[in-house]
């Protein structure tokens, strides 16, 4: 009894676990339950029960409700689909002028808006693509095909790769100095001589449209949210869901609205990239000291002047970090949007993975990573760069970079011209190295993969079998064995013990949404895979982070490694694991572990770093050993921060599990992938995406609430 009074929380947790396990053991698996039956949603089977809601018929297998809840939200995907169909085909038909046929045509309003939007996006992408690669679509848009036939000189020739490479080096030099310039030059040269120029420029053109538009929208909405509480409140739930929503899931409804191609990819990328921009803009503007705002008002600034001349320049750093985030999201979307027809490196990577040509996939993946790292470093350098004051500089000093670029353009054009004479009968390598005509290491990597398989097959196979049979399958069975009521009691009880009634209600709502959807079983499989990944990632991340923290150089080194790894688009992680483990669940899980270890390591280091130096000194003065200091002072104080790392690890793991559907797994991701190829998949895709987002948000809510309380308790809030 004394123990109960001393540790009431522990007792409550033990009670909750006891109830959970009692329920798990008390409720038998129904005789008719088979996991595979979960696949039968929407398939007519005489054994299914059915209900009609909002005119939509939902069919399902009616188990004992304590075991699995009926899919009362099964109408939602059908309703979303029908609504989209209605919006696109029937709602508000209007007369619109058609330029091609020179007559009015009746079209639904939404269809007309989306088509105009896609036409505008296509124009922007083509414009940039033709500046980089050449073409005549843009000229034709302003003139006509007849005019082009009469004036063939007007066709845009595209920039030679030498000019783009040197130009990026100059820009990198201006932003980040010699090191970055050298990296830019080497990366661009590598991309060119390895024959990846055209797809790289296609990807770049898509990013050069998506990133600025996302920046403008993100900044605008961020400012609006800063100015108005109502806007902020309206945006908050969307931002919250979008943060944990797998990017895959957005593809399907966008596919219905905007069709297939680069334009749709740009719009989807914007949908995914705008939320971090809004958040960082809001964060930056909120951090502006009131004195600065007051000074602006005292100087007689109007509201517009205050925003444009005071607030935004003061919050410049956070806003530019937002730009950096936008660019990173664009790169990760460059691969994912290849699923809906975006051209470029992402498409090549996907194609190579699809053919199991690991060498080609590696080449494309490396190019994406190189450009991603380059743009990441450049945007960060821009964010951290101080404004140049050039009052005492002469014209040459002020404009040396522009002048250099001018010279490079001339030299590049001359080189391309000489190239056209020198390589008269073949490809002009000084203008563009055609795709698949450059150096290729694909064969080398493919042979390497074969060698790995030949040499280590027995060991890899043994590891694979052990992991799947002895670890993953039992864990999967354990998760699927949980009755719905037991899961709900555990999650809601945990919410109550951590954050009271409010937190319990939030997690209850989120869990019920998933439980009432037709994909509860799949959600359990997703959670099991993410849990496994998170457990291993956290073990590795916390250990590596703690070890690296012991030395200043290793800390910086590890943070740099995390930085670089974080810039790789998530799909790239699948390549090396596929090289080693082939198309198995093991590959997905190892990719999850590698990907999710990054935030775990980073937040451990950051958390340990956040412990005040004064406490270190006080501890040392008190005569504690290094070990005691770590366990008695640093860990307890850094733990809230490390838990935020755990939060990020869970989100990263969920993202990767969903992407892993591409090479197997039987979780929610697999269904999102299926929805992509389904004509009526928009509703399913979106609902599945919300389910994944809600899994993330359940953990997010629990962890954030706990961290908040812990920080308050430790007095470090």
């Amino acid at each position: 009894m004394e123990l109960l009074k001393k540790y009431p929380k522990l007792f409550q947790w033990l009670f909750l676990l006891a109830v959970f396990f009692a329920l798990c053991f008390a409720i038998d698996v129904p005789e008719t339950y088979k996991f595979i039956r979960g696949q039968a949603e929407f398939v007519k089977d005489p054994n299914q029960s059915a209900f009609v809601f909002l005119g939509k018929e939902v069919r399902y297998y009616a188990f004992d409700v304590f075991w699995r809840l009926p899919p009362l939200l099964g109408w939602l995907p059908i309703w979303i689909n029908d609504s989209l169909f209605f919006l696109m085909n029937d709602w508000m038909p209007m007369e619109f002028w058609n330029e091609d046929t020179q007559e009015y045509k009746t079209r639904p309003l939404v269809l007309q808006i989306t088509r105009n939007l896609t036409a505008f996006m296509t124009f922007l992408i083509e414009l940039i693509r033709e500046i980089l690669l050449g073409g005549l679509e843009t000229i034709v848009a302003f003139t006509s095909w007849d005019w082009i036939d009469a004036n063939p000189w007007a066709e845009l020739p595209g920039l030679p790769w030498t000019i783009v490479a040197a130009g990026s080096a100059i820009l990198a030099y201006k932003l980040g100095g010699k090191g970055l310039a050298l990296y830019a030059l080497l990366s661009m040269t590598y991309i060119s001589i390895f024959g990846q120029w055209k797809p790289s420029m296609q990807t770049l053109s898509f990013i050069l449209v998506a990133a600025p538009l996302s920046f403008i929208f993100g900044l605008g909405l961020g400012v609006a949210a800063y100015k108005s509480k109502r806007v902020e409140k309206a945006l908050y739930p969307i931002l919250l869901v979008m943060q944990t929503m797998p990017q895959y899931a957005v593809l399907v409804p966008a596919l219905v609205l905007f069709g297939v191609g680069d334009h749709a990819a740009v719009i989807i990328t914007m949908i995914v990239a705008v939320p971090p921009m809004i958040l960082l803009t809001l964060l930056g503007l909120r951090a502006v000291p009131p004195e600065v705002i007051e000074a602006g008002r005292m100087s007689g600034c109007s509201n517009w002047q205050l925003m444009s001349k005071v607030l935004i320049p003061t919050a410049r750093r956070d806003i530019l970090i937002g730009v950096n985030q936008v660019i990173m999201v664009c790169f990760s979307m460059a691969v994912i949007s290849a699923f809906i027809g975006a051209k470029g490196l992402g498409f090549n990577l996907l194609l190579a993975l699809n053919q199991l040509n690991i060498g080609l996939a590696l080449e494309a993946g490396l190019c994406i990573s190189l450009i991603a790292i380059l743009l990441d470093k450049m945007s960060l350098a821009w964010a951290n760069k101080q404004v140049d004051y050039f009052g005492n500089l002469n014209f040459f000093q002020r404009n040396k970079n522009s002048l250099f670029f001018g010279v490079i353009v001339i030299v590049g054009i001359l080189l391309a011209y000489f190239g056209s004479i020198y390589f008269k009968d073949g490809y002009n390598y000084l203008f563009e190295v055609p795709h698949n005509k450059g150096i290729s290491t694909a064969d080398f990597w493919n042979k390497g993969v074969d060698w790995i398989f030949d040499t280590f097959f027995v060991y890899i196979k043994a590891f694979n079998t052990w992991l799947i049979v002895d670890v993953l399958q039992p864990m999967r069975a354990l998760y699927l064995r949980m009755p719905a009521i037991a899961t709900l009691v555990l999650v809601v009880g945990a919410g109550y013990l951590i954050g009271g009634v409010r937190s319990a209600s939030v997690v209850c709502g989120l869990t019920l949404f998933i439980a009432f959807s037709p994909w509860w079983d799949r959600a359990l499989v997703t959670t099991y895979m993410a849990t496994f990944g998170v457990l291993v990632s956290c073990t590795i991340g916390f250990t590596v982070g703690t070890l690296c923290f012991q030395n200043k150089h290793s800390t910086n080194f590890m943070l740099n490694v995390c930085d670089i790894f974080q810039t790789f688009p998530s799909f790239v992680y699948l390549i090396p694991v596929m090289m080693l483990f082939g198309i198995t669940d093991t590959s997905v899980l190892i990719a999850v572990i590698v990907y999710a270890t990054i935030p775990a390591t980073r937040y451990t280091i950051e958390g340990l770093r956040s412990v005040p130096a004064g406490l270190h000194d006080a501890a040392t003065m008190s005569g504690v050993t290094k070990f005691q200091r770590l366990f008695k002072i640093e860990f307890p104080l850094a733990f809230p921060h490390m838990m935020l790392g755990l939060n990020q690890t869970i989100v990263f793991a969920l993202f990767m599990v969903i992407i892993g559907a591409f090479i197997g797994t039987e979780d929610l991701g697999q269904y999102i992938l299926k929805a992509l190829s389904d004509k009526k998949g928009a509703g399913i895709g979106l609902t599945l995406g919300i389910c994944v987002a809600f899994i993330g948000l359940i953990f997010d809510n629990l962890i954030r609430t706990w961290v908040g309380q812990r920080k308050k308790h430790l007095g470090i809030d």
């Binding site: 409550q12 009670f15 129904p30 005789e31 008719t32 009616a62 188990f63 409700v65 009691v489």
Partner: protein
């Protein structure tokens, strides 16, 4: 009641919290209990599923038999070069066949002008197909239903006849010829 309220007020925070936890668990239980009364179908579903499992087992047996048949046309009558089905096989193949391809439908329509007309008007849509074994006549019957709007009149025609031959693809069997005259 008053005493209970007072004791609640005076009880410590951990006790209150524990009470809340128990309360939440009870609420969840009650909700599930109510839902189970509305949506639960325990024993009924077990019975339905068992019948379904028997049906699946039977279908598997038939599929095994079909895969052992030669590919090509299987007939139930004498006088052709095709594979002749024994009486048992004829029944088994009939029970295992689900598909009626366009060839058989077109052939049957050839002798049913109204069905042919509606089939042409509605863009070659078939509402329903069926293949049934008639225990009384010891024969296999197959047919289909076509419907459409013929000059403002909604019409539905059912075409049915004896399935005299089947096409074995090695994976499944399809009705090859419906004798509807």
């Amino acid at each position: 009641m008053e005493a209970f309220k007072n004791s609640l007020k005076t009880s410590s925070e951990p006790v209150k919290q524990f009470g809340g936890l128990v309360g939440i668990i009870i609420i969840i239980f009650l909700t599930f209990f109510v839902l189970n009364n509305i949506f639960g179908e325990g024993d009924e579903l077990v019975a339905k599923m068992k019948i379904e499992e028997e049906r699946i087992a039977e279908e598997r047996k038939l599929n095994k038999l079909i895969s052992s048949l030669p590919s090509g046309v299987l007939v139930s009558f004498d006088g052709t070069d095709n594979f002749k089905l024994s009486d048992e096989l004829y029944e088994a193949v009939c029970k295992a066949t689900k598909l009626i391809p366009q060839r058989a439908i077109m052939g049957a329509n050839f002798l049913n002008f109204r069905a042919h007309e509606i089939y042409t008007i509605n863009g070659n849509k078939i509402d329903e197909t069926f293949v049934k074994w008639d225990d009384e006549k010891n024969k296999c019957f197959a047919g289909f239903v076509v419907s459409g709007n013929n000059v403002g009149v909604d019409e539905t025609v059912k075409v049915s006849g004896e399935a005299l031959s089947f096409l074995s693809t090695g994976i499944d069997t399809r009705v090859y010829f419906i004798k509807n005259f």
